[in-house]
């Protein structure tokens, strides 16, 4: 059974990845970089934590990886959000919103931003 910290990290990672890919397709390294940048370093995914998560999401049909040429000219595996992934985004947002509201009610935890 997964620990609560692992489940929270995985769940938040799924939401972060889906939200990023909703804007544009990105490759793995760019995803980890943007998550770190846009969360001010609060959420950090390295190679070991990012790719198993991406592969799970791909197997579920939420994202689809395709080898494409990057601006640098190198072939990179870009992840695209699928229709199923788009459909997951709204309920995930809702669940996390409820999660933070619940924490706020019980412990006064509020959004930083």
């Amino acid at each position: 059974m997964l620990g609560i910290d692992t489940r929270i990290k995985r769940g938040s990672g799924e939401l972060a990845i889906l939200a990023l890919l909703d804007r544009e397709p990105l490759h793995g390294y760019e995803i980890s970089k943007r998550i770190a940048q846009q969360t001010g370093g609060v959420l950090q995914f390295n190679l070991a934590s990012l790719y198993p998560l991406l592969y799970r999401m791909e197997k579920r049909g939420w994202v689809k990886g395709k080898w494409e040429e990057a601006k640098s000219g190198r072939q990179r595996r870009y992840y695209h959000l699928t229709r199923n992934g788009k459909k997951q985004l709204a309920p995930l947002r809702e669940e996390w919103g409820m999660f933070f509201q619940a924490l706020h009610r019980i412990a006064g935890v509020t959004h930083a931003g």
Binding site: R7, K33, Y51, Y55, R56, K59
Partner: protein, 225 residues
């Protein structure tokens, strides 16, 4: 930065998945390490130190291997569609047919509806079991709820709920006409009107309670953990 694939293969070992997929994973992880090292070099770290630091960013290679294999095999065994459609549909079909079989085994006679043909003789219009039709609402509810809990969209929830009727429709539309074509003598026994009535009785009528049962559960999917 030197080619990472040999290093990655040494560290990860054989993943025991399809070779092409394994090669793709090694290549993708190698690209990530290369980007990581390049980013460090851009910050002034020497080439050799950047490469080492990128490789050292993974502290638990057996753990990573386990996570990758788990991610790759878990969903291969049971992919999204299996969870949200095929399993609830199989459950609904089994339940639906199981209930009708039990009713027949325990001697529940079908409710027959009669039609007077040209006012002279009486012909059976259709025969079906009313309690079975009522039970279909529960079957539809179970299938739709299961699909929704597994993360199925409304379309999958609907398909899972209606699957017992869809299977029978497929049976009537494909098997009966093809058997008529293959065995021409069947033409004498199966008339179009009878075929339509049977389809109405065993497909459209059960579809209605299936749909009614499913209706309260046809909502946006619950996100998967």
């Amino acid at each position: 930065m030197p080619d990472n694939s040999t290093y990655l293969r040494e560290r990860l070992g054989r993943l025991g998945i399809e070779t092409r997929r394994e090669d793709e994973i090694v290549r993708e992880l190698g690209e990530h390490l290369e980007d990581h090292a390049a980013a460090l070099e851009a910050r002034g770290v020497t080439s050799g130190a950047a490469a080492r630091e990128a490789l050292d960013s993974v502290s638990d290679w057996p753990g990573l291997r386990h996570e990758i294999v788990s991610a790759e095999t878990e969903e291969t065994i049971m992919n999204y569609r299996t969870k949200v459609l095929w399993l609830p549909a199989l459950c609904a079909i089994t339940l639906s047919n199981g209930i009708v079989a039990l009713m027949q085994i325990f001697g529940r006679p079908p409710d027959s509806y009669w039609l007077s043909a040209s006012g002279k003789s009486m012909q059976v219009l259709s025969a079906f079991i009313v309690p079975w039709l009522i039970s279909q609402s529960v079957v539809g509810a179970i299938a739709a709820h299961w699909s929704r809990r597994a993360g199925g969209t409304v379309r999958y929830q609907l398909l899972a709920a209606l699957s017992p009727a869809i299977v029978l429709l497929g049976l009537f539309l494909l098997v009966i006409p093809s058997s008529i074509l293959l065995h021409k003598q069947a033409l004498h026994n199966i008339r179009l009107s009878a075929f339509m009535i049977v389809t109405l009785t065993w497909v459209l009528l059960p579809a209605l309670p299936l749909l009614i049962g499913a209706a309260p559960f046809l909502r946006k999917p619950q996100a998967q953990s």
